[in-house]
């Protein structure tokens, strides 16, 4: 018996919750209406959810330093980690902090719908405003080139591997796989000799589509072709089919993918950190999360670049934008941009800030020096790495397979139109291949192509 105790009293409840919140949202205000005053301002800023104490202390120390520099600003922190399913609810409910981060894929939609504050005037006053890597900057720009959201980090997808499992399986952790065939054989070996999943794949909350698209890119495919008047889905293509066949073979022929086929981002990272996964594909900059939120032993961590095979093969890249809530008033918007400058970008552009940040972070025993892609140009990045050299406390040599090649790999941004919907439509495709031995890859891709195209047309 299933009593209604466990369900909303009426069918409407789920979607209706949003409607009561309508009144809470507002269209925001234009910062040009009033210049930022020096009166007292309070802003709430995002801090990663689930940080361990050391990381929280490091964050609090940065807040104190900021408040010392900006005596009129009070900074309150709010736990926040972007997630596809909760972000829309937070946005609709007006419960986001004043400063929050979003993935590159969400920038355009939010700007078009004016769901974040237009801060381009404020950003334009920052000394390095014109120096962003143009490819990266466009994720946060409106169609007329004005910057509404500020890129603060960029990543290229990487192949993470557990060095301890590699060793247990008789593989050399210093020479990770460089072709997909090698990935497959390493996965089989790990699975056979350690009993853990040799290779695992995220499949839930749009991550299935994200990683499948990453594999398709690495095999020379793309998810969309965008022309002046139309966007066409390119899902039903040989590259997507090849990526799915690869997964199918690992799952059903080799049985090297473990027994969880419903991984989302947090659970895959937790299981990888716990030594239950030999290899998996995710953002190249995930080291911090693995170590600080999932207690991974740094010595066990390894990362390498994705094997690129076939013409046009590229690494799918993305990044993080810092945005300001549409509800923030002009003074809060100004203070928020100051916080973005101080907390996210200062450490990339200013020696003193970089050193201060690295010092505080290292003193709190948090990782300094994990690989990222340059938000500005490679020279600025190298210079910044030089400033913080003394504080680097991560096993840099274990990142070498990744850092020695990622800057040479062609980086391709995520599919630009209806990105999350495209990923969402592909989740069940990946799940079907991994949970149904007789899944018909051609049929699945054909249906997904139509589904994605209709979602693109609607958006």
């Amino acid at each position: 018996m299933t009593s209604p105790r466990r369900f909303p009293t009426i069918a409407l409840a789920g979607a209706l919750a949003a409607s009561t919140l309508v009144a809470c949202s507002s269209g925001g205000s234009d910062p040009s209406d009033a210049p930022a005053s020096d009166g007292p301002v309070t802003i709430t800023v995002a801090v990663d959810a689930g940080l361990e104490q050391g990381a929280k202390d490091a964050f609090d120390a940065r807040v104190t330093a900021f408040e010392a520099e900006h005596p009129n600003v009070t900074v309150e922190s709010q736990e926040y980690t972007w997630s596809g399913t909760t972000f829309a609810a937070d946005l609709a409910g007006g419960t986001l902090p004043d400063v929050f981060t979003i993935p590159f894929t969400d920038g355009q939609g939010l700007i078009e719908r004016r769901q974040i504050a237009d801060i381009h005037d404020l950003v334009g006053k920052l000394p390095y405003a014109g120096e962003f890597n143009p490819n990266i900057a466009k994720a946060g720009q409106s169609t007329d080139g004005q910057m509404w959201a500020v890129p603060v980090a960029a990543y290229g997808q990487g192949l993470h591997y557990n060095r301890a499992l590699f060793e247990q399986a008789g593989l050399d952790p210093d020479t990770p796989p460089t072709t997909w065939a090698e990935v497959r054989s390493a996965a089989r070996q790990i699975s056979e000799r350690t009993g853990q999943a040799g290779y695992a794949e995220m499949t839930k909350d749009n991550t299935g589509g994200w990683i499948l698209t990453t594999l398709a890119y690495a095999l020379g495919g793309r998810a969309e072709t965008v022309s002046a008047d139309a966007t066409t889905a390119t899902i039903d293509t040989p590259q997507y089919a090849q990526a799915l066949r690869m997964l199918k073979d690992m799952r059903w022929q080799d049985d090297s993918m473990g027994d969880n086929f419903l991984y989302d981002w947090p659970t895959s990272h937790a299981d990888f950190a716990a030594g239950k996964i030999g290899m998996f594909v995710s953002g190249g900059g995930d080291y911090g999360n693995l170590v600080t939120q999932n207690a991974m032993e740094p010595a066990d961590y390894g990362v390498t670049v994705l094997p690129l095979e076939g013409s046009g093969a590229a690494v799918l890249g993305g990044g993080t934008l810092a945005a300001v809530s549409a509800k923030a008033d002009p003074a809060q918007q100004a203070a928020s941009v100051e916080w973005i400058d101080f907390y996210y970008l200062g450490k990339l552009t200013d020696r003193e800030a970089a050193v201060a940040d690295a010092k505080t972070t290292a003193e709190a025993d948090q990782p300094v020096g994990a690989p990222q892609l340059p938000v500005f140009d490679k020279a600025t990045y190298d210079e910044q790495q030089g400033w913080i050299e003394d504080y680097v406390n991560v096993p840099v040599e274990q990142f070498a397979p990744f850092t020695s090649s990622i800057f040479d790999q062609p980086l391709e941004s995520e599919p630009p139109v209806a990105t999350q919907e495209l990923y969402a439509a592909l989740d069940p495709v990946v799940q079907a291949v991994l949970t149904d031995e007789d899944a018909d890859i051609a049929g699945l891709l054909k249906a997904a192509q139509q589904d994605v195209q209709s979602r693109i047309d609607r958006s």
């Binding site: 018996m1 466990r6 069918a11 946005l91 969880n260 991994l434």
Partner: protein
């Protein structure tokens, strides 16, 4: 009606000088106050306000929103029946309806008889009745989300998973549980049954105490065994309660959300995507299709209302 007319005429006899119309109004207001109308209103007011604000107003807003395109920030646009059209042509809708019916059917077959059998058995035992009732009720006390997350661990598909270890003792398994499109839904129903059975058991136990014991004695004298006593005495007395719990269960299962959301997110391969999960995904799955979400909500509500009405109509004759 009769009472109020009598009162009015009795009063009218005593106050002839006051014009008739004014008199009637004052009299009726006074009567209303004296009759307890004001205090009733005052007592009901907080409830009316709370219901109005948190229940009726959102329902009205949802009806409006189902005819609009809105992202909840910019002003909404009227789109007529477009949202309903989008939902009805969504290829996932048939799957979601099928899955919801499958869940409801499984819950009915598996979950409906379990509390009844348990309650009848418990009422038969002479000792430790309270203990059994407490044990049966225990899962209801566990917060639903905690229960699901616990069961998610138990359902681990590896041979060392809790359930796979247990079934391994009798030479079965390992089973994929949530990791296979064909076993995912039954696994969800199993947990839902475990979690909710206790509440219904308590209701049945209470109803069973209302069955006159003379009837059992009489049946025994007539030579009836336990099965015939249950069939001819217990069940007929529980019929009303059984009907209520059945309709509650049908409404509850049609809105199943928690289990698929937390266990599988609708997977693998949409095998546990239910109607309510689809509504959630429209609104909060990164798409922001609030209009479509409310349109589907309204359709679900309409179907459930029709179902309930039909059900009560059909069964009203034999429930008394």
């Amino acid at each position: 009606m009769t009472t109020s007319t009598q009162t009015t005429s009795r009063l009218a006899g005593r106050t002839e000088t006051i014009p008739a119309r004014r008199l009637r109004r004052r009299r009726s207001l006074g009567t209303w106050v004296r009759g307890g109308g004001l205090s009733t209103l005052v007592i009901a007011l907080p409830m009316l306000l709370v219901f109005g604000l948190f229940s009726w107003f959102p329902i009205a807003r949802a009806v409006v929103m189902s005819f609009q395109f809105t992202n909840l920030v910019t002003p909404p646009e009227w789109v007529g029946l477009e949202n309903f059209r989008t939902v009805l042509t969504d290829p996932l809708l048939t799957t979601a309806i099928g899955n919801t019916l499958w869940f409801a059917a499984l819950a009915l077959v598996l979950g409906y008889p379990v509390p009844l059998v348990a309650a009848v058995l418990m009422s038969e035992v002479k000792r430790f009745k309270g203990l059994y009732a407490a044990l049966a009720y225990l899962p209801v006390v566990v917060p639903p989300v905690v229960a699901v997350l616990l069961w998610k661990q138990f359902y681990s598909a590896s041979a060392s998973g809790v359930f796979n270890t247990v079934v391994g003792w009798v030479g079965l398994g390992p089973y994929p549980w949530l990791q296979d499109p064909s076993t995912a839904m039954p696994s969800l129903v199993l947990e839902a049954t475990w979690a909710a059975a206790g509440g219904t058991v308590i209701i049945y136990l209470a109803a069973l105490t209302g069955v006159p014991s003379e009837l059992y004695d009489a049946a025994e004298v007539d030579g009836a065994g336990i099965w015939r006593k249950v069939w001819h005495v217990t069940l007929p007395h529980l019929r009303g309660i059984l009907l209520v719990t059945l309709i509650l269960q049908v409404i509850g299962t049609a809105q199943v959300f928690l289990e698929p959301y937390l266990f599988t997110g609708g997977g693998p391969a949409n095998s546990t995507t239910t109607v309510l999960l689809m509504i959630y995904d429209y609104a909060f799955g990164g798409r922001g299709q609030y209009g479509e979400a409310t349109a589907l909500s309204l359709m679900l509500a309409a179907v459930l209302a029709v179902l309930s009405a039909l059900y009560f109509r059909i069964t009203s004759r034999w429930s008394h």
